[in-house]
């Protein structure tokens, strides 16, 4: 009964979405307020119905109702409750339902809190949003119904893929989807602006909070995915330039560019057409990510099911929205008026440079990800493009961007003073040089590492310089500084934090890639091995039974300078239901660095293959992402962006500093 209720709610949501796709848009074109107002209740109703549908699926999983096909395929009655819950989206059908749930949440939020958006724009936005929703409802109902029943109902499920039986599944997919789907709002706003043929600074102010929310979630989602891969795959890698990773990274790069160009548009009314294009591209890349990952074009843990019908269906959605969006752009964009002028050396100029580098970097990732697919489709030749390609193309494009980062916030709008800014960044330059020298003296080897650390120091200190300059720290009396710091717009703090986070991530990347050490050895009980300053003693093996797996653990005592500092117990789990095994790495955190141990094979004569890694500063990689997200959140809390805040009075707007 409950699965049928869920299915029925989804069908109803589709019906309502169809109404919402047409009626408010028609109302907006004919200036009919009654028709326009249809959008709000329908958006809320869609949310309620999809939520009911999702709740129905959750209840099927939690109660282990194996008469539902997806529950049978992906769940097991002995799984802990949290995994029963998270396995709702640990499969294709459920994850698509989560996708539309998030879409409906965003639609409802715009309907509920978008009170200050002009009625016609809001109605058009919600209509466009509903086109996307309708397309995905049809997709789910036609090709991926999560509520299909099995008869007779099997007695036991086939278990969730063991790699997914992890807390990461509770965080990574929902955050990533919040990011992907969040960008649908900026897409809808862009399409609405093109339909209306009118766009101004206020548009950017309405779009920015949604873009920021999406960006924060995507940042955290990618970071969580990276950390999860790091500790669960047993290879100690945090980024492989794998196509599925690139699929999430491309929208992030484009979204970051969009955040910055929307800033220019909001403050200076420039880059309007470019911002619209970026909004369309960012969501297109999100859709493409969904397609690449879910269609089975790429084989990986993310490709749950390889039903060609689904791939073709998503491809059609992709072509309709991307093609339609770009065609509308080509047709309508020339109608939009050109915006303000600026000199090449100015805040706008710096942000344009940021956009050029980010989008070009995104394009290289795009080429590297799609070229093998295109080549195979056209010539049948199978190639793989690996990390060396991405390191060689992405790296050289990102380094100048990082050098430019501290300059941006210090330059004035319209016409900047590069000499003055360089002087103000002198402290950052000096600290970066000191950092380079210090690293060279202390560590000696790879010079590139020293430059990496220097660049990271420059980015971090440069971001702090901006705050110091604005508050007049050390020049003005402390109370004045404090008052200024409190009075500083939250968005300025946000920018500083986000840039600091970028530098911190860079520190981690440099530390891990340049100074990491690894040791792959075959050990027996009593054997000793050392890695860097650490000595490991193989104390013995033990086995135990988990709820749905058997586990073999190896115990190591870790010593530093002869002093025991802890015990590490990497293990291997075997899941009989799927005949699969997973590697549970043991991690020991020392400051921001980690020691990583994972097990390979156990030979019949008792020797165990072990991978040991020393990963200096590795935690900074993800910590930096969290700092970036905090920056985003601070910026989101800025007064002028507050969703649903009353419009500031005209006079106040006039005296607002143009930061």
């Amino acid at each position: 009964m409950i699965p049928e209720l869920g299915h029925f709610a989804l069908v109803l949501a589709l019906a309502i979405a169809l109404v919402q796709s047409v009626v408010p848009l028609y109302g907006a074109r004919t200036r009919d307020t009654v028709l326009m107002r249809v959008a709000e209740p329908t958006a809320l109703a869609q949310f309620v119905l999809v939520a009911v549908s999702f709740a129905a699926l959750v209840s099927c999983y939690v109660t282990s109702d194996f008469s539902v096909a997806t529950v049978f395929e992906n769940s097991h009655s002995t799984m802990p409750l949290i995994y029963k819950f998270t396995s709702v989206w640990g499969n294709h059908e459920g994850s698509m339902l989560l996708w539309v749930l998030i879409l409906a949440v965003f639609g409802a939020l715009v309907a509920a809190f978008g009170a200050n958006i002009p009625a016609t724009l809001k109605a058009t936005v919600l209509s466009v949003q509903s086109w996307i929703a309708a397309a995905f409802y049809v997709f789910i109902l036609a090709t991926s119904n999560p509520f299909l029943r099995l008869s007779p109902a099997p007695f036991e499920g086939r278990d969730l893929n063991p790699i997914l039986q992890d807390f990461g599944l509770a965080v990574h997919p929902p955050m990533l989807y919040l990011g992907y789907v969040g960008f649908s709002i900026s897409f809808s706003f862009a399409i609405a602006a093109l339909i209306e043929g009118r766009i101004d600074a206020a548009w950017a102010r309405w779009v920015r909070p949604w873009t920021l929310i999406a960006w924060i979630c995507l940042t955290l989602g990618i970071a969580m995915g990276s950390y999860w891969a790091y500790y669960t795959l047993g290879w100690g890698g945090w980024w492989y330039w794998d196509p599925v990773e690139n699929a999430s990274f491309m929208p992030w790069l484009a979204g970051t560019a969009l955040l910055h160009s929307a800033l220019v548009m909001e403050k200076r009314e420039a880059l309007k057409i470019w911002t619209i294009l970026l909004s369309i591209l960012t969501f297109s890349l999100s859709l493409m990510g969904t397609f690449l990952v879910r269609s089975g074009v790429l084989t990986s843990v993310h490709a749950f099911a390889t039903d060609p019908m689904r791939g073709i269906f998503i491809l059609v959605i992709l072509v309709l929205f991307i093609g339609g969006g770009l065609a509308l752009y080509a047709w309508r964009a020339p109608l939009l008026k050109q915006g303000g002028l600026f000199a090449p050396i100015s805040r706008e100029g710096a942000l344009v440079l940021n956009n050029l580098f980010l989008t070009t970097a995104c394009a290289t990732v795009f080429v590297g990800t799609l070229y093998p697919l295109a080549l195979e489709a056209l010539t049948g030749a199978k190639i793989s493009v690996g990390a060396p390609f991405f390191n060689a193309t992405f790296g050289p494009l990102f380094v100048p961007l990082l050098v430019a980062v501290p300059f941006g916030p210090l330059l004035a709008w319209k016409r900047g003073d590069i000499k003055g800014v360089t002087q103000r960044l002198a402290a950052a330059f000096v600290l970066a040089l000191v950092g380079i020298a210090a690293v060279c003296v202390v560590e000696g080897r790879p010079v590139i590492a020293a430059f990496g650390i220097g660049l990271a120091a420059f980015v971090i200190v440069g971001a702090i310089t901006d705050i110091v300059e604005r508050t007049g720290l050390w020049r003005a009396p402390f109370p004045t500084t404090l008052r200024r710091a409190i009075g500083l717009p939250r968005s300025a703090w946000g920018a500083a934090f986000a840039h600091i986070g970028l530098g911190v991530t860079l520190l981690g990347v440099v530390g891990e890639t340049q100074w990491g050490a690894e040791q792959i050895v075959s050990l027996r009980q009593g054997d000793k091995v050392s890695l860097r300053h650490y000595d490991f003693t193989f104390d013995g093996t033990s086995t135990r039974n988990g709820p749905n797996y058997r586990e073999l653990a190896v115990k190591f005592t870790v010593r530093r300078n002869g002093e025991p500092i802890g015990i590490m117990q990497p293990s291997k789990r075997t899941f009989p239901a799927r005949g699969m095994s997973t590697t549970e790495a043991a991690l020991m955190t020392r400051g921001f660095s980690q020691i990583y141990a994972s097990l390979g094979e156990v030979t019949p004569d008792g020797a165990v293959a072990v991978r040991l890694y020393h990963k200096p500063l590795v935690l900074l990689i993800w910590f930096g992402c969290v700092v970036m997200a905090v920056g985003g959140a601070l910026s989101l809390s800025d007064r002028r962006l507050r969703v649903g805040a009353p419009k500031p009075a005209r006079s106040r707007a006039a005296i607002q500093p143009a930061e």
Binding site: N161, G296, A363, A381, A392, T393, L397, S581, A609
Partner: protein, 157 residues
């Protein structure tokens, strides 16, 4: 600066960066792409020793030897030809007789494939897509192998 000059500055910066990126892409494509080969391709097309390639097929029955100090040797076959592979390191658990496998590495002059990465899959029902296609081409495809896609143990999160 006039409006025209500004636009020119903007466009030339953009074109410059784009050109730089295209240069980088072409330059790195020449060095870091690996072509996928079946053992038949590898034996018959005489790929120059030292060229990075990706080899895929099945582990030939009875050839897998796990020696001391993590030295592993086995043969990869597609039913027609077999290529001996050597590898030093930890191989995935499911590397066993008859299992689908993908290895990255180079061919040395003696015809032995030196692997620097071995990818096999966690799920025994799984067959790498490239391998499945190659086997189909060679006429050694057994339909029930393709039952279900699984999970990579290798560098495929």
């Amino acid at each position: 600066m006039t409006r025209k000059q500004r636009r020119l500055a903007l466009i030339s910066t953009g074109v410059g960066i784009l050109g730089f990126a295209i240069g980088l892409i072409l330059w790195s494509f020449s060095g870091s792409i690996r072509f996928f080969n079946s053992p038949t391709d590898l034996v018959e097309t005489h790929i120059a020793p030292g060229t990075p390639v990706r080899l895929g097929g099945l582990v030939a029955t009875g050839t897998l030897v796990k020696g001391a100090d993590l030295n592993v040797r086995f043969e990869v076959t597609d039913g027609n030809r077999a290529v001996p592979v050597i590898y030093h390191g930890i191989v995935p658990d499911l590397l066993r007789d008859g299992q689908g496998v993908v290895v990255d590495g180079t061919l040395d002059p003696s015809g032995t494939f030196k692997a620097d990465r071995v990818l096999a899959k966690h799920d025994e029902r799984y067959m790498p897509r490239e391998v499945a296609d190659a086997l189909k081409k060679q006429g050694h495809w057994v339909e029930d192998r393709s039952a279900k896609a699984g999970v990579a143990t290798g560098a495929k999160p």
